[in-house]
């Protein structure tokens, strides 16, 4: 593969926003998505008519970029509505950086919206998997339960070990007034929750919320004039090898083991240099797998790695600092929220006002963040490294 370092840092996020996170009764997915776009453009101080690149994916729109362009009344010169599940938005960020650098576009907007919670529950536009459907899998849940069973078998992790992921996420949520689920949570609570699909109980599973998000990206030269600190895309990579869980070669090794090293190589930074680590936690097993596959610890060692609150507030590694998909927000495709948390940590440390959090909720001196996205049933993996201008 050719060296992608010529793209390193050439595009930056200059605006971001969320809308309707948690519950947004009476508002549809498009309305929430458009609200997030309008707010992100205001944050970037860019007028709507300057948007010439549009990137979107939702579970409500089969052709999301077209639907959103129509709704906003814009005519993008380049758009991408590719849907690789919750990791779509990390892939869109790479695609936006390429289109910006190629001169196809000057201003990219990446957007997502969902009102699944108030519209009746988990929303999917996935087709039935042809050689799985008759066995009655409740995807994505079944797939992640199968992966958890194999992980526990191979590495001797217990349900209590894995519950530490949910406990750490809740501890971060308790520092974040924007998080949907707050309050005390113990390992015992997680173990006592209703079993859904062994070995996953209810509190091993992400929230089902509403929510929309959008970011604005432009070329680094233009980003200098933005009102907020630009946060540069230093590295990005996408990899996938299956769609159905039965076709995943090894249920304990995701494509993040390829995408993350490739993104780090492009960025010129490694895992140890990340100040904040945002990992797509649709289920507790995700955080363990991605800590390993992204290079924060060796395969099979994540349970030991997270023990004693290592990824909780005040621990050694700041992971899922908004509270994650487990306790902050999860409208179905969570990737853009992962991205926004990665960028907001850097913006806050640079002195921008991102709103209040309890002490420790914002990471002091954060200049480098990993935003790792996951899509499907551990299927697609996409990693982005975001950095403060000092890291260029």
């Amino acid at each position: 593969m050719s060296d992608l370092r010529h793209l390193r840092g050439k595009a930056a996020c200059i605006g971001l926003a969320t809308a309707g996170t948690g519950e947004a009764p009476g508002r549809n997915a498009m309305e929430l998505m458009a609200e997030a776009v309008v707010k992100a453009l205001a944050d970037a101080s860019v007028p709507l008519e300057k948007v010439d690149g549009l990137f979107a994916a939702t579970a409500f729109h089969s052709m999301a970029a077209m639907s959103l362009a129509e709704y906003l009344g814009i005519r993008p010169a380049w758009s991408n509505g590719s849907n690789i599940g919750g990791s779509s938005f990390m892939a869109h960020a790479l695609d936006a950086a390429m289109a910006l650098e190629a001169g196809l576009i000057d201003v990219a907007v990446i957007a997502y919206g969902s009102n699944q919670r108030t519209a009746g529950g988990f929303k999917s536009i996935s087709e039935p998997m042809p050689f799985e459907a008759q066995y009655g899998p409740r995807n994505p849940l079944t797939a992640y339960a199968l992966a958890t069973s194999r992980y526990m078998h191979d590495f001797g992790a217990t349900r209590a070990d894995i519950a530490e992921v949910a406990v750490a996420a809740r501890a971060w949520a308790n520092l974040n007034p924007e998080a949907f689920m707050r309050g005390p949570l113990t390992v015992e609570d997680v173990l006592a929750a209703r079993m859904i699909s062994d070995p996953l109980g209810k509190l091993d599973c992400c929230l089902v919320t509403d929510g929309a998000a959008a970011i604005v990206m432009t070329r680094a030269d233009r980003a200098k004039d933005a009102p907020k600190t630009p946060v540069h895309l230093l590295g990005a990579a996408v990899e996938h090898h299956h769609r159905m869980i039965s076709a995943m070669p090894d249920l304990t090794v995701t494509s993040a083991a390829v995408s993350a090293p490739r993104a780090f190589a492009m960025a010129g930074y490694g895992p140890a240099e990340m100040h904040s680590v945002q990992l797509y936690d649709a289920f507790t097993i995700n955080t363990l797998l991605f800590l390993e596959d992204c290079g924060f610890c060796a395969k099979g060692e994540a349970a030991a790695f997270i023990k004693g609150g290592h990824i909780a507030p005040g621990g050694g590694l700041a992971v899922n600092t908004n509270g994650g998909g487990l306790s902050c927000v999860h409208p179905g495709m969570y990737g853009l929220f992962v991205t926004i948390e990665a960028i907001r940590q850097i913006r806050t440390a640079a002195g921008n006002d991102e709103g209040p959090r309890e002490p420790g909720g914002w990471i002091e001196g954060a200049k480098l963040s990993l935003a790792h996205g996951n899509g499907g049933v551990l299927s697609s993996q996409a990693s982005c490294i975001w950095g403060h201008p000092d890291t260029l």
């Binding site: 042809p130 194999r150 209703r194």
Partner: protein
């Protein structure tokens, strides 16, 4: 050469299943088995796939018990089975409690029925103690 006319590999596989046969594809040149059925071998693209009967032997690779209220049909098992021939498939293990299925359990296929359609179902190779 895989027959690219007439019914496709999925339809052929389901027709075999309806006749009581659990079939796999095998490449004549490489000998590698393929499941799920395709027009070409995944990754390498061989189109010399022929149908061979599966041995029916397999090992549980991963397992979950889907919890469901009794009035809706109760709990049921979903497992990934590593077939003796190499490929892996999703299936259900019956003849044992759905939450008693363990990774590594040796299982054997039979053709049963799920939701009115023929389905490959696995049972423990030896009766549980």
């Amino acid at each position: 050469m895989t027959d690219m006319t007439g019914p496709g590999p999925e339809a052929e596989w389901r027709a075999h299943l309806a006749e009581g046969r659990f079939m796999l594809q095998r490449s004549r040149s490489t000998g590698a088995h393929v499941f799920y059925p395709r027009v070409a071998a995944p990754g390498s693209g061989e189109t010399d796939l022929e149908w061979v009967e599966a041995s029916g032997r397999g090992t549980v690779y991963a397992t979950t018990c889907t919890r469901q209220r009794p009035e809706k049909g109760g709990d049921y098992n979903i497992a990934l089975i590593d077939l003796a021939e190499g490929p892996r498939m999703m299936a259900r293990v019956e003849g044992i409690a759905p939450d008693a299925v363990t990774i590594g359990l040796a299982v054997r296929a039979r053709i049963g029925e799920l939701a009115g359609e023929p389905a490959v179902i696995f049972e423990p190779e030896s009766a549980p103690a």
